[in-house]
Symmetry: C2
DNA sequence: TGTAACCGAATGAACGTTCGATTGAAGATG
DNA sequence: CATCTTCAATCGAACGTTCATTCGGTTACA
């Protein structure tokens, strides 16, 4: 039964994002998942491991969303916009996942090992930006910095849309993407 | 004695940022602050109120840092860079404060009321950006969106510097600020 | 002498985890 | 096809610990 494992992870995500880690007891997770408390320990060694596993699962999903339809041989600009929208779309369509990743990812409960191991999901983007720089389309700048700036923009836009009481219209999205692009492109 | 109150807040900040909320018992806060457990309840009604007070104190400090030397009648661009550096400097010089504000601010422990009440500290920046738009120097764009994008950049840069294993040199900072600026300025 | 600040042991609730018992399905045996 | 064996999956009460908070008493100062 993969269902139960999935149900436990889902319940954990929902409870943690609405109540916080310190206020989601395992008993509550069990109830929400439709499972006995002891059963959780059949799938996860501890509460900490449960949370770390959840982090890994969500990071992977985010990575998959990020990569959708990025194979074509279009321009750097088009691919930049595609990545941007992919990430934004994932965040906005998966608010709980976004919430968890943003707010609990760098909390001390998630181990450094797990974080490191999940950086893989970004590597195609890193490569893409490096290529853009090498082609002379993007600015000379450490790729790490460029990634951070753009990622920061996407996160900012998603937060504004989801929590900021300011639902972004397509026109706003266009402005936001353009701002990101103008910040890293040459000229 | 204002000292004890201050010591308790400081201890709370340090323990929460290194261990997380769920792993900082009041007994530990007391020990670190050099105070008896009961004394904390002389200054704060509960753990929740303690955390909310800490949030308010830190937000205010951030607001003060943000405003330093922004009175002069220089160009929009100069003032933009000044705000940017003020915020970045505060984050980098106060890593614990930054950590707390970024990671626990929107956790469910901090009440919505307190968050709303502390939005005041941003208002001069909002006004500045609105003025820049009206002068035709900054793009036509909702101020909320512009604020979010730029703030997102500053946070991203600070995180990269502090946690990303990529200490930003002055040249990098210049690139980051320029990217932010190019994203919102006209042309 | 009164009162605000302070102490820290005690309290009671809540929590993560354990464990012995139960179930059910998948072979194995006859 | 019936019966037996096995073991992973599941349950939930119980355990031991930890924690936020209380409170009766003490200190220090005005």
């Amino acid at each position: 039964m993969k269902n139960k494992r999935e149900a436990i992870l889902q319940a954990t995500l929902e409870l943690i994002t609405t109540n916080g880690i310190h206020a989601t007891p395992m008993s509550e997770v069990a109830k929400q998942a439709g499972v006995a408390a002891g059963t959780i320990y059949h799938y996860f060694e501890s509460k900490t491991e449960l949370i770390n596993d959840l982090y890994a699962v969500l990071k992977q999903r985010m990575g998959e969303a990020l990569m959708q339809n990025t194979e074509g041989q279009t321009s750097v600009k088009d691919r930049f916009f595609r990545f941007w929208l992919n990430l934004y779309g994932f965040f906005v369509q998966n608010p709980k996942e976004f919430d968890f990743l943003e707010n609990y990812a760098q909390s001390p409960v998630v181990s450094e090992d797990v974080k490191k191991a999940n950086e893989v999901h970004y590597s195609p983007v890193i490569a893409f930006l490096a290529e853009g720089i090498q082609k002379g389309v993007l600015r000379e700048m450490p790729v790490a910095l460029m990634t951070a700036l753009v990622y920061g923009n996407v996160v900012a836009a998603a937060k504004l849309h989801l929590y900021g009481g300011f639902p972004l219209q397509p026109a706003h999205l266009q402005q936001a993407m353009q701002a990101s692009w103008d910040g890293v492109r040459i000229n």
